[in-house]
Symmetry: C2
Subunit: 190 residues, 2 copies
């Protein structure tokens, strides 16, 4: 259960065996079935989640009932409603399982205590957050500078695991492309 | 020159006098006149910059010659081409001074050495990057859920200093609203 997350963390920071045990001690396992919600709008969001197994999506449902997928997550990724988690605000997003999923949650206050006890985790989460920030900026730039075809290809290259496991209309939604346009693109390409 | 940045940093982490001196020692002052470029596409980006005085914009120029403003910065903010800086990639953005500006640059490699010597800076930059990530996610969500009028009001409330100092057509560009629509909105409001 903890092998993957330890590998994930120790790829960025070195941890003694005691530190590894202390880290594992603050994780809470959560299992969630396909189509079930991990987070719903209005909820308090105390945790961010590492995906041990499964696949999830985070999306915003606008007033017209239109879904806007903000993020996918598969094994070795983190997911939450991050604005709500970091800002201590009510959730605005749904986080829903696309497959049966196993997650490890970290509570915000417990994480703050961990930072005080083992400051190396500041480094780990600084690096993770920086990567997430850069990816998000990159996504905005991509939408400005690339054609739909280029953006779909980029998505397939960057997230091959997600492309295999997530329905195409979800990917179209994430990219802000109409599903029928993505179908046409795929026909041209394959 | 260094009073503001020390106040800025010590609002998040405590530093001894020696640590403050060490931090100041790695900063490089840069003065840039109105309409001059701090960064241009294709350049290597080794620094991120703290604004001591002035006002700048970071933007992407697409193939059609259309400008897309990604970020503004005034006193007490940080600016760079962050994808390029963090990813050690050539710049894609222009960073241009809207007013004569005074900046303090931090070099990426020097910052990495600072992290090793004074690990509290991992915490400082983790908090700063988290805030930037949350603001960017918030901006994406705002564009999905709010009217142009609501987004302009939100901008004025969140960034009153920028609203005062930046031409309206820049703000329209940043919000992805046509300048004439913003003019109409402002007439209705004031």
């Amino acid at each position: 259960m903890y092998k993957e997350i330890l590998k994930h963390v120790t790829s960025k920071i070195e941890l003694t065996e005691d530190e590894q045990l202390e880290f594992i001690g603050i994780l809470s396992e959560q299992r969630i079935a396909k189509r079930q919600f991990l987070i719903e709008p209005g909820q308090t969001v105390d945790c961010e989640y590492y995906v041990v197994k499964g696949c999830l999506k985070a999306y915003y449902l606008d007033e017209g009932g239109n879904k806007h997928i903000i993020q996918f997550a598969v094994e070795d990724w983190w997911i939450s409603d991050f604005e709500a988690f970091f800002g201590n605000l009510p959730a605005q997003l749904y986080v829903e399982a696309i497959e049966d999923s196993v997650l490890l949650g970290i509570n915000r206050d417990t994480l703050e205590t961990l930072y005080k006890r083992i400051s190396k985790f500041e480094r780990f989460f600084r690096i993770k957050t920086t990567n997430a920030f850069v990816a998000l900026r990159g996504r905005i730039l991509s939408s400005l500078q690339k054609s739909n075809k280029e953006r779909y290809l980029e998505f397939c290259q960057t997230y091959p695991e997600i492309e295999k496991r997530v329905p195409n209309y979800h990917i179209a939604n994430y990219l802000g492309i109409k599903p029928e346009s993505l179908s046409r693109l795929r026909k041209e390409m394959f």
